[in-house]
Symmetry: C2
């Protein structure tokens, strides 16, 4: 399933802020710096793509949503490693990859990952394959 840039950002925000307790719409609006009504529309698109669930206002990624997140983040971190290995500053590599990670093919990413020796972590120390 394809996601847009904002949907991608929202998936990442949900995943990276759900450690303690799940987020509500208003939390997501704040984290994404958008108005609640804009968040509502965005979350509705993610709901209809079966990427999130909403239960009593608590928003969580579905298992499919978690899979989409993993694909995005693996692409992001794999390419970050590749770019930093080429001498690109890790923060620049990160902002560069934010723009395109969600557009990359999983199969290409897997091949690159193997070629660079299946590193466990990205330049920021985060796992290439999130749990």
């Amino acid at each position: 399933m394809d996601v847009t840039k904002k949907e991608r950002d929202c998936i990442v925000v949900i995943h990276e802020n759900s450690s303690g307790f799940p987020l509500r719409l208003s939390d997501i609006a704040i984290l994404m710096k958008i108005k609640p009504s804009t968040a509502y529309e965005l979350l509705n698109r993610l709901l209809s793509k079966n990427i999130i669930t909403k239960e009593k206002g608590m928003i969580m990624l579905t298992s499919y949503g978690n899979h989409v997140y993993s694909e995005i983040i693996t692409a992001h971190r794999t390419m970050e490693i590749l770019l930093t290995k080429s001498g690109v500053n890790s923060d620049i590599a990160c902002s560069q990859m934010e723009k395109i990670d969600y557009l990359m093919d999983e199969s290409s990413i897997e091949k690159i990952l193997k070629q660079i020796g299946n590193p466990a972590k990205c330049p920021h120390g985060k796992p290439v394959k999130p749990a």
Copy 2:
């Protein structure tokens, strides 16, 4: 200047089909498989971004447009090389890069290019730095 995906495709189509004589709107519409009125809108956006000129119906890239083309194609071919070096099939690498080449930072591309030894040609034998 940022371009959209369709603008990117149009720039590439114009460059890669202007060897003999310049293209007209109707040629571009056919090459891009869109209706003339859609091509008209697209070309108007490129005109207002100073990427093309239209003289007596003949459409050409401006020098700035040529610069934008070069950046896109250098990113495309540099990353194609990187992907094929990792074992990605060259046609898959090409279609993968078509989606994202226009979104990549020139500075990151230059670093990668240097790191892989400034190859002159992409896997299809085309120059990484077009004339």
